[in-house]
Symmetry: C3
Subunit: 159 residues, 3 copies
Amino acid sequence: RRGEMAKSTQLIDNEVFRAYATYAGIVLIKMMLMSLITAYFRITRKAFVNPEDTESFGKGENAKKYLRTDPDVERARRVHLNDLENIVPFVGIGLLYALSGPELSTALLHFRIFAGARILHTFAYLIPLPQPSRGLSWAVGYSVTFSMAYKVLKTAWLL
Amino acid sequence: RRGEMAKSTQLIDNEVFRAYATYAGIVLIKMMLMSLITAYFRITRKAFVNPEDTESFGKGENAKKYLRTDPDVERARRVHLNDLENIVPFVGIGLLYALSGPELSTALLHFRIFAGARILHTFAYLIPLPQPSRGLSWAVGYSVTFSMAYKVLKTAWLL
Amino acid sequence: RRGEMAKSTQLIDNEVFRAYATYAGIVLIKMMLMSLITAYFRITRKAFVNPEDTESFGKGENAKKYLRTDPDVERARRVHLNDLENIVPFVGIGLLYALSGPELSTALLHFRIFAGARILHTFAYLIPLPQPSRGLSWAVGYSVTFSMAYKVLKTAWLL
């Protein structure tokens, strides 16, 4: 397997890069699952935003009553937006971090804490757990990304 | 041209990576065009959200009446947000996929189907076409990204 | 320091890539700071969206009155979303651009103008400055990203 990959590029043979690819893949999949959770709430709560989505419920007023907001749908959408605001910077900064030559153990520590914190954040937000569980899990992921950004800027700095 | 690039990095000489760069560029440009479509609807429908944007329409109540929502503006904004939720994961996972050593023909199949599905999705959402055209085009792009993520995790897995 | 990095990958030794890493890091950090600005306005204006966030203010109706929107909070959220719509494409296209073999001086020109324009855009949006300051700073960053995308597609084109 490694031989086949070496033909195209050596980057994936680097252990830090492989760890990055694994965790970036996991948190991006986690973020994408929010689409399914939002769709699940839209369908079970019958709360839609596009008129064309309610046409199967009938015509006119009968369909229009399903064009409404629902607290569970809105909550799932907020989790998704929060993921965009936090996971996307992690994926961008994490790539540069993985290319900046960190120790494998240090890199794994960053990636594992970030992924764990974001998974906790999703549960804390969706259930919801009492604060400060959501706030703390958010702050942990945020701090990990800043720590990686510091290493990137220290290594690459060329203004 | 290839000689000049080889001086800086060989990555762009890899055919799978070139295909990735082409399709990632195309779908990111498509996503960015949503800003112009939203701006077009805001101006033609005179529906703004920032008070400073309506000052050219006069002072006081005359300007305030343009601080309102419009169905076409909101629809364009939803397309843009849906692009962020789907095109951004494609760009991140697609990069790792391109570096994981897929066959060029398999990679092109993934990239072409994704780009086609997202362009169809935009038309299905904006016109709008009756469902399930928007739902199906969304699901196709979503599945392609998952297929790439599976290949990335299978190749890189280092937890 | 360079010796240690060379062990893992040579990419970070490329000057254009180092410049990209620096500016991508800066604009991603700038984007992430919007979370803190939104949180600051939510706390000082006492305007929250999640019931669990207002529980420290008391029970029942006393806490419910803080579940409201506030103009400053909404403005900060719009800046954050605008950053997602513009900085994320810059980071994706900029990476491909950095790997497409541009001259260092040309690349620095693109990165510096983009970063400057987005920092100006944030101030123009938050203060807010009269239009067209926000519109112009947005358009400058947008144009820089298109210029980079053009170079990427010209270099990599493989459909």
